[in-house]
Amino acid sequence: MTSIELRHLTTDGPGERPLLDDITLTVPSGSTLAITGPAGAGKSRLLRTIVGLEEQTSGDVLIDDIVVNAVDPRGRDVSMVFEDYALHPHLDVFDNLAFSSVLRKGVDKDAVSDRIHEVAELLALTDLLDLRPADLDEPQRQRVALGRSLVRDATVYLFDAPFTAQSERVRAHVRSVTMQWQAEASRTSIFTTNHVEEALSTADRVAVMHQGFIHQVGTPRELYDQPANMFVAGFLGSPPMNLVPAIPMGQQLVMPLATMLIDDDLAERIGERSVVVAGIRPEHCLDATGPGGPAVSDRVEFTTRIDDIEWRGSSQFAYLGYDIEPEIEAVMGEVEELLEFDLFQSFLVAQLPAESALRPGMSIRVVVPRQRIHVFDPETGENLTLPR
């Protein structure tokens, strides 16, 4: 029912780098945005700025197309779930759930009570309504914090890492009931998570944030298939995309394990660069050992030795090691230092079907569809394979 828009939102930090760096975002009414990024990316700061608990240095926050920079949290009427739950220790679960709803005058107490019971039912809190937060365990406390926000009627809902404490088993359920509840009332929500799969599976749109900067916003599919830059490519997906250094030589791109032909278009975009980075997703590495391999016509292939195998039931990961020249390694080290994030490894991960009987030490022939390989500029991180 309410849209939210951020325009060039910037907050200066104590050091040189701003805490929030020129953030422009739009969350259409009734949609869900996930903000994902490593710890310390500025996700919580961004949410706190939207609620009005922190002030930005410059830029605007708009709720329903109205600039609310000067409006206090009460006036903005945004609901927020805090990462450390922020429960009232002296109130029982029922009163905690009711807290934000009864702060305003003229609330229909019966309606609130009905809603509390409904939400408690959804989040499996019904038996705990008379207990205090101290009597609950961590996941229960988090669900109370989540419930407090769901019970309330607000313009926008912000969730700061709302599912982290839930066990793997319950997590998906809590996530889906929360999102259903929000969708039924066509509420606008933003949640943060450092769990990549959670972001991709739960939200309508995903924003990848790091170092106070939004690297890319888009639907989960857009982000996964067409990452705008090397950070987005390396951060989304688990295991993450393999990023290997590649040296352009005429019509060829020489990578540590394989050589790839490049077309004129890509060659032109690579231009004079002496080193680029090639990105290959683990699930695009296909096992072509033996007869009857996958029929991929436009392919990059190579044969190498398997260093290690990680079997995980539904699939298995093969680790294929390689060596890089020291000069190139130094360049990559600098990039990592600049990004404060580990992107590069000295091995390639291939995600293979669980059935194939692979062993460490075996030789493997890997095939990668050529159009699945991304090429990035190592300095700017720009994705050179994206159509312009």
């Binding site: 608990l53 949290p73 805090f82 922020a86 807290f99 702060l103």
Partner: protein, 325 residues
Amino acid sequence: MTPSVRSRLWASATSFALGFGVGNYGVLQVPRPDQWVWIAVAVVLMLTGAAGVLFADTSRAVSFWAILGVEVFAVFTLVPLLWTFTVATTPEGATARTLLPQDISWSAFDGAISSGTLRSAATTSLLVALVATVVAVALAVPAAYALVRLQVRARRLVYGLVVAALLMPVLALAGPFADQLVSLGAYGSRLALVVPMLVVTLPLATWLCVTVMRDVPWTLLDAVRADGATRPQQLRRFAVPHLGPGVVAAALLVFVAACNDFALGAGLAPDRPSLPLPATLLVASRQVDGSSAVAAAGLLWLLIPLIVLLVLPRRINHLLGRSYR
């Protein structure tokens, strides 16, 4: 033998030896009825020793050194109190010569309560302490908030100054304060004591309130604000439940400290009407009839901290750094 068993046996031996020594000295040297006190202490110590031997090789989580320490501590605290009680209850004209009271007479307590001097001194003390506490807490709460919550420049320095002021010898300031009061013409007035008393109460209140503020769940305030609470609602829903008890406990402690101040009272008040109680008991004891009344008044004065401790024992332990929550 494990180290803990050996340590327990040593504790037992020590307390048995102590008890044996105390018992022998009491029996041989101390006349009755105090002999019984000595024998009682000796029995307790020797029983501790015996229990220590019995429980030395068990897995119980007790420390016999700690028990021995508590016993010694109790003796050294309770014996002076018992002596004060004996002095207070000695009938008029008699002199207390034994530790155990012989002839209990409560008239000294009546005397202390009805004595005009002591009454006026107690009123002065309570009044001055009350005003100084209220002013100090009113200033200390915002100061502590700033020290804990805001990125104030030099806040470590300020906090250091607060602690330094806490350790300052107040007696050294009494002289200059007295000169000041004389030149202002306020020397001898009751309320003139309040301002110098702030030297005692303000740093103590700030120091205690900093501890209170550090324990407050501050994200809860953010949550309450994000939930859309107005200022009065923030006060009622957040400050009262989360700051209230801590501040009240701190205020009570400050009040007790102010009540017990002797140095400023003795230095700044020339005569009876404005002399606070602790100073009266020492300086003006000749104006009060007999040592019994002084002892009785002292015992009655002890009720104030006792009541405070009974009201909020947990909070006060926590504030004084003995957190066992």
